[in-house]
Point group: C2
Chain length 245, copies 2
Amino acid sequence: MAIRKVVERQTGVALWRQIADRIRLAISNGDYDAAGMVPPETVLAGEFGVNRHTVRSALAALAEEGLVRAVQGRGTMIERKERVSYPISRRTRFSQGLGRQVKEIGTRLLGHAGISASGEIATSLGIAPGDPVIELRTVSSGDGRPLSVSSSYYPAARFPRMAEEFEQLHSVTKAFAAHGLDDYVRVSTEIVARHADGDELAKLKLSAGAIVLETHSINADLDGRPVEYSRSCFAADRMKLKIET
Amino acid sequence: MAIRKVVERQTGVALWRQIADRIRLAISNGDYDAAGMVPPETVLAGEFGVNRHTVRSALAALAEEGLVRAVQGRGTMIERKERVSYPISRRTRFSQGLGRQVKEIGTRLLGHAGISASGEIATSLGIAPGDPVIELRTVSSGDGRPLSVSSSYYPAARFPRMAEEFEQLHSVTKAFAAHGLDDYVRVSTEIVARHADGDELAKLKLSAGAIVLETHSINADLDGRPVEYSRSCFAADRMKLKIET
DNA sequence: TACACTTGTCTAGATCAATAGACATTTGAG
DNA sequence: CTCAAATGTCTATTGATCTAGACAAGTGTA
């Protein structure tokens, strides 16, 4: 059959990258599960209507990501296909949600700072502009692959030891508990998608041109008072967000 | 000051496109609101560390999108900056949610078909593989700009006249009501981000390399029986998703 | 072993992306 | 009016991307 899959020229996105993105999507959709392999280069070249060399560039990029492995004479095998599902609900907790999908979860503290709340941070936390907040910058990984980078903000008046507690306990939930807050719920989450900037590419170990899902979320205590405002960037080709309502 | 904003070379994404994406983001973040204009080409070229011609290519792409307008001698003015917020909650209804953000909302039926349920459709609707479902393909616009394309699936046994009713009433909620279903709720929504394919680029009138937010959502009646499974693609640079939990 | 099929490598040429510099044209302020 | 500042247009050059074709080398099957 050889359905012609459309790629566009002169758009500022190289053909090999468009094709790499399409193949990555097909792998993660399970389109090639039957064989466990990507179709031969000549077949892909035919489907996309490009030269075989262009397909090879795309496959080389995916091999660089560790997604596929080419073996001369046999073909190109799929090494990894999963896209981790991150559940968002009233009881969103980072490590719990990923649960069985990844064996080993790590959240590393990149840095922390005491700053004064500006526009969106103050609004989201329901405090006055200029009030002190504590900022935690973290990167989270699953099985060694970075999944997200976050900046989280906490009202310093209520959670003065947030940075130190988090450093010790490696958990926001436990750091809240150390301040006497036993429970909290997700109030709202905003989601946008965009291209990753240079800093995110480095921290998430992405190849440039990659997409991130950026979320702005607010957690509140059971009385509805905001306790955390958080901006996270998820590597879009490794994650999906699952909203439970 | 002239902070060096990072763009990466040899990544398969042209510099002018990376820069266009960054400027679009800055506009939508309101970074240039004070002046109502984009900084001069020479300044942008300095910030990004590229030639002025490269910046001009980026601005030309944004002008093509209708986001900015350049005037010789004056500068490049911002024409449009909003990103429509689409709320997702238990009571998600397309047109209600957009409400005051856009004046005029339209959902156009691209086509419909009677098909038999395959894997994900059957699973999501809780019916047997091979059972008949009705597929509606639609494109939704706000103030003339296309915002999303969707394929929605309904169990034909329960909603046999879905296509005809929708065609008449231009509303899923009303078409459900015509079948005797007065209320339904959003059960789950999965969100991934990826590059748009050729078909989506055309239907959403995007410039290639653009990003879409793809959602897979399930709506159910008040007894928890699924009534709709829907796959939607939102133009990521025009929309954000707001989750209320 | 012989063969079909696959990936790996090389060369050469065409087109696109980016840089560099020069100069024209328009606008708004003094 | 005069001038500075901004966008518009042109030429030339370099490097990246894509195409085209040929052949080498590894794999699995008959």
